[in-house]
């Protein structure tokens, strides 16, 4: 199977995010970056599928849109076992909406004729949760979202989809298809030293976003970023752990009445 995995570089979940001077994006100096978590699970699912269906011509190709610095997540994916990569160079990713980003991805991968495209369910930065579904629509592929497990069958794929409140369902669909992958369905591998070494010899095709002829003005325009409004007035209990704990227990007894 020829599998394309769409990945995104996002600020690491533990890094401090602050609004920048423009009020339209975050301060990106000193920010730590990582591969989006559900994209990492999509990559893992692709690598496992390739290993399970070890027929001739099996290939895992990662594609990302982002600045030059997003090359870090491409190298990580190649070190983990992806065969090659397509890097759509775009410095203005935050100003494009999901349709705009999906249009770039569609233009970059349409000639690859993959059997399967996997994308993470949702990015950890903007959290629109749509790029994969729009990509399927633009390429005319059937899709399924929130997928935890993918099995190849004689006629296509059988996938396990997460529903709300602890329910699941299996879905059968033909290939080529697009799936968005939920975190936690598989266990992520680490890159081996050998993998890191091999990654250096693998093909990374860089394409300028403008050269794809797929620029679409944003319909959803991000105007301003602010600190969230507090939904409750929080009483912060300070002091040493022991002091804070004593203050809390007092509140639980006298105000919340649970002790």
């Amino acid at each position: 199977m020829k599998i394309i995995v769409a990945i995104k570089q996002v600020p690491d979940r533990d890094s401090q995010v602050r609004v920048d001077a423009s009020g339209k994006w975050i301060v990106d100096t000193d920010l730590q970056y990582a591969m989006n978590e559900s994209d990492a699970h999509a990559l893992e699912e692709a690598l496992q599928l390739k290993e399970k269906t070890a027929e001739a011509g099996g290939e895992v190709i990662v594609v990302t849109a982002g600045a030059e610095s997003a090359g870090t997540v491409i190298r990580e994916a190649l070190a983990k076992g992806a065969d090659r990569a397509i890097h759509i160079l775009a410095d203005d990713l935050p100003s494009r909406d999901s349709f705009g980003v999906a249009s770039l991805l569609a233009a970059a991968v349409k000639d690859e004729k993959p059997d399967l495209i996997l994308a993470g369910l949702q990015s950890e930065d903007l959290g629109n949760g749509q790029t994969g579904v729009i990509l399927a629509e633009l390429l005319g592929l059937p899709h399924a979202t929130l997928i935890l497990n993918v099995e190849k069958t004689d006629i296509g794929l059988r996938v396990k989809r997460e529903l709300e409140e602890g329910w699941f369902q299996n879905i059968e669909l033909p290939t080529p298809a697009l799936l968005t992958i939920q975190s936690g369905g598989n266990k992520l591998r680490y890159a081996t030293l050998m993998g890191i070494k091999r990654a250096k010899t693998k093909e990374v095709r860089q394409v300028a976003a403008a050269s794809l002829g797929a620029d679409v003005p944003a319909v959803a325009v991000l105007e301003q970023i602010t600190l969230p409004k507090k939904q409750k007035s929080t009483q912060m209990l300070s002091g040493s752990p022991k002091e804070a704990a004593a203050a809390l227990v007092e509140k639980l007894r006298l105000e919340v009445h649970v002790l």
Binding site: V19, E162, L163, L259
Partner: protein
């Protein structure tokens, strides 16, 4: 273009869940004639429930191929309805089902869904969370096409004027060919029988990524035991297999509303918050003072849970003696 469509979703028992009324409430902020839309193979019961509850008009979109739900079927049916109605806005409740098809539907109109909206201001300006809830972003819809948006569960408390009389229900019969439905969905199932019913628990101690490793779990287990509380967890803890799935709170797990919810090392991503923000009292313990969990907390302690939680356990034991 005129009027607003709000696309409601019926449950498997043909009833309408609360998030739909919240979407209807949010829709009223936009101004304009509201038409509620319900679609499926048989929606008469649901349409009657909606008609009795509020908007001026209800459209019942029926076709045998709309049950079971498929993205292909719903996109085809709603594409035809939207072309026929030509609305300014299309509003959805932000459910897993909507996340599955609405982005494709919007893309068919060269539009993008403004998803998981938490507030609507003059303009209209739509607010949604970004960066895992650490920041809020305001969006405006540009261009001349219809605007698609979905609203977050719990963000718009139900506030609907009592209707003078039941609305009229207008049928709409889309044309769908069986060959258009490319996916074959199976029956929903539960992985395990739920042995733990967190929804009736009065006291809950929830644990998140901040616990760092499975070996540290006894720290929170001891606090739960001292309080007589149930232990719950955010998704990553259950994904790692450190606690069983049935203890997961959030959009993919259980929804809880205890008297007391202590969130230890939970940053407060929206997927977790929707499952517990209805708790009467929320205590948050986190090393990051900017963690979004503090936005919904009544009491907050900034610190390392490895130190703070054992201190609380000791204080609770002392108080109970």
């Amino acid at each position: 273009m005129s009027g607003i469509l709000v696309i409601l979703q019926q449950r498997s028992d043909n009833k309408i869940a609360r998030i739909n009324w919240e979407a209807l409430t949010a829709t009223q902020r936009l101004g304009g004639d509201v038409t509620a839309v319900i679609l499926g193979a048989d929606v008469q019961t649901a349409a009657a429930e909606i008609a009795a509850k509020a908007p001026s008009k209800v459209i019942a979109v029926e076709h045998p191929l709309l049950n079971p739900y498929t993205a292909d079927g719903f996109v085809a049916a709603l594409h035809q309805l939207i072309e026929s109605e030509n609305p300014t806005h299309i509003v959805f409740p932000h459910t897993y089902q909507v996340r599955d098809y609405a982005p494709a539907l919007a893309a068919r109109f060269k539009q993008v869904l403004i998803s998981d909206v938490t507030a609507i201001a003059e303009g209209p300006v739509f607010t949604r969370s970004i960066m895992q809830g650490r920041l809020s972003a305001n969006y405006r819809h540009a261009g001349s096409g219809p605007c698609f948006l979905s609203v977050q569960a719990g963000a718009f408390p139900v506030d609907l004027p009592a209707p003078a009389a039941a609305a009229t229900v207008t049928p709409f019969a889309p044309t769908i060919d069986a060959a258009q439905i490319r996916t074959k969905p199976g029956e929903p199932y539960r992985a395990t029988t739920q042995a733990v019913d967190l929804s009736s628990a009065q006291l809950i101690v929830g644990v998140g990524r901040g616990i760092k490793s499975q070996e540290n779990l006894p720290i929170v287990e001891e606090l739960a035991a001292a309080l007589g509380a149930e232990l719950a967890a955010s998704r990553p803890i259950c994904d790692n297999g450190w606690l069983p799935m049935e203890r997961q709170v959030g959009s993919s797990g259980q929804t809880v509303a205890p008297k007391l919810y202590i969130a230890a090392g939970i940053s407060g991503a929206i997927q977790h918050l929707v499952g517990m923000k209805g708790s009467q009292c929320i205590v948050a313990i986190n090393k990051d003072p900017d963690a979004p969990i503090f936005e919904v907390a009544d009491y907050g302690i900034v610190g390392d849970l490895m130190e703070v939680v054992p201190a609380i356990t000791a204080a609770v034991k002392a108080a109970k003696q």
